[in-house]
Symmetry: C2
Subunit: 399 residues, 2 copies
């Protein structure tokens, strides 16, 4: 069990509550192998069966009310453990009476999925419990709490993301070594999946779509399954990939050019397109610093790309990475309806973001994605950024 | 992708809606690798990133509104595919106007977690979309829809559960073969986990707690991690285990007696306790038939056990099994607050249940759990029921 991680994040949560003067944060969930509560892994560290409430207070106290069968697992945690047999309602109310909060922040959010782990049925159940108590009007969204607690990585979390990045880079390097011109997109994916199975690694997003592989200019772009296409000589292999290791993820995109007889080096137009992608990513990255709203970063990258004559990319320039490849909170994205208020969030020191975009070319999709950590006045790279089109495949016969 | 399964279940859902005269069922979710929507695997068959709405109508029409990047994955499904770029709201409203429902059932439920995949934030978002339309008052709970669609297994689902049962029984048989008196509880778990990894099998519940292993009378009972206890001769090994295979689960408990020099056969009191457990399970099982409320089954088992002088078990007698080991819907449980209305649900033909209970003895926890499918007038076994205490271990030295 992740006892240290739970201790670090619980302490961080209490600090966030104290800073913002929010009395307490309540995470309420059940049967979490069926419907996961995004904050549970660092607030409790194990899945629960019966309805469970974790309360962190701005005073620094934390407690968990949980079914008696689940209770033995909580004994090493920094929380007061309050087991129940038949009903969670009364012990939870008693705990709240001890804390007597004006405001109880709970996990719902229109825009931030990581802050939206409270299901509507559980919300109604919680309201039933509070009905008639002093707290029936006290529920508010924990959006800002979750965003600060989940976004700003603790030392253990930072180490784990760095480990996931190192492993992902290692596996991508191995792909290049082992790649064969007969490999279809699906072979790249199968080879990575076999390495991940051997090492007990998870995928940063849906297994079947991680990696995403695009071989050359005729491949369909999007969240599509790796297909039966091989990489023609003179075109580009694109891989979007990240492992999940010890619960934390990486997310990066890499590009390799396969030399042909006619074009042992990439054509000048291809090099120029890659340079445009790099320049737009760099323009965005340079805007990242604490206090800047996410959408400004997206605009800097987006305008650099369109100024260079390319169409806009149809996604956000960057998202946070942590437990999940899409880790919620502030988004470095345009203010489109589907992103809600996430692009208006302000960047914080200690958060980890991707910076990514791409253009479609006749040689293939040129998508690049790096990862950065936010420092006091800018960023540092977590990935070793790809600064040129790498080569893949020794043979130069046209296929 | 599970195209056949999605087709079967979508057709079943339309039939359930028509029978109950509910106009349409709307499943609304996003980023489902972070927060899973329990019905998505058989309504869509893949995870989504952007907000996604799946609408099944009583007329038999089904449609999915989803982000353009996710859309290519849906092309083989029986659904109309409606991709969007920036916002789901308008295309969803247009779809609803075509169907013009009086009632839109959505996935929230106080008591049934499998019918509670709509998060509170997504519920608010949906209300925002419907605000000012003809449908702003149309949202209702899809509890009864989900319970009927998820509970009654389609042919593919039934096959998969049977496969998971067969694999689980095979692995439990192998445990008995390979078991060594030096094995700690954790060694049993490690051995099973290694076999599951080799065969790419998941666990029916949380990996670390599946199997649960109790070695002898001194082992702690509950949802605890397998520990460093070995099995003393003359005591009982208890294993609660199920694999998840092709998305469907098994859940069973098995018991083995380790002979000692003094007691090469189980003592008479141990045999009698096992017989009491069996009798209570059988009394419950005999009450199972379509139309019976779940709590009546629990009462039959519970009273048989207490009539024989044992304390009540502190859980439900049985739960449904399907995708998850705890599959929601009707529960064969007591009418305790923590189970909400689930024990009042009526049993349906085609559902699959566990029947389980146990007693604590000086030889160890005697827990037994079998699985049954509900027929038109009773049940059939899915497991090969354990009718006697099996033996484990050749040597008879006291440890």
């Amino acid at each position: 069990m992740d006892t240290d991680l739970v201790a670090e994040k619980t302490e961080q949560a209490a600090e966030v509550l104290a800073e913002r003067n929010i009395d307490c944060w309540l995470t309420f969930c059940r049967e979490t192998t069926e419907i996961s509560e995004p904050n549970l892994p660092f607030l409790l560290g194990f899945d629960v069966v019966w309805p469970t409430a974790i309360v962190v207070s701005k005073t620094g106290r934390s407690a968990v009310v949980l079914g008696r069968h689940d209770a033995p697992n909580a004994s090493e945690l920094p929380h007061d453990v309050i087991p129940y047999d038949e009903s969670l309602g009364e012990p939870l109310l008693e705990l709240l009476r001890e804390e007597d909060p004006d405001e109880i922040a709970v996990n719902y959010s229109r825009d931030d999925n990581t802050a939206d782990g409270l299901t509507h049925g559980m919300f109604l159940r919680l309201r039933d419990i509070l009905d008639g108590s002093d707290y029936e009007e006290s529920l508010t969204s924990a959006e800002e709490v979750v965003s600060a607690v989940r976004g700003v990585k603790s030392p253990t979390e930072r180490e784990r993301v760095e480990q996931a990045v190192a492993t992902t880079q290692e596996l991508l390097g191995d792909v290049r070594e082992r790649w064969d011109p007969d490999w279809m997109e699906a072979d790249v994916a199968d080879w990575l999946h076999a390495r991940m199975d051997e090492r007990d690694l998870g995928s940063a997003w849906s297994w079947d779509y991680c990696p995403t592989v695009h071989a050359g200019g005729e491949s369909d772009i999007g969240h599509t399954l790796p297909g039966d296409r091989t990489l023609p000589a003179g075109e580009v292999l694109h891989v979007d990939f990240g492992v999940k290791q010890d619960g934390y993820s990486a997310d990066m995109q890499r590009l390799w050019y396969r030399p042909s007889d006619e074009w042992p080096d990439p054509p000048a137009d291809l090099d120029a397109a890659f340079a445009d992608v790099r320049a737009a990513i760099e323009a965005g990255r340079e805007r990242i610093e604490p206090g800047v709203p996410g959408h400004e970063v997206d605009t800097a990258a987006r305008e650099t790309l369109t100024d260079r004559g390319w169409p806009e990319y149809d996604h956000a320039f960057g998202h946070q990475v942590g437990r999940n490849a899409h880790d919620g909170g502030t988004l470095l994205g345009p203010r489109w309806d589907r992103y809600g208020t996430a692009p208006q969030g302000e960047i914080r020191a200690g958060e980890i973001y991707t910076v990514e975009l791409g253009v479609e070319t006749e040689w293939g999709y040129l998508g690049q994605e790096e990862m950065v950590a936010v420092t006091a006045d800018g960023t540092e790279w977590l990935t070793d950024p790809q600064e040129e089109l790498w080569r893949i495949g020794e043979e130069t016969n046209e296929s």
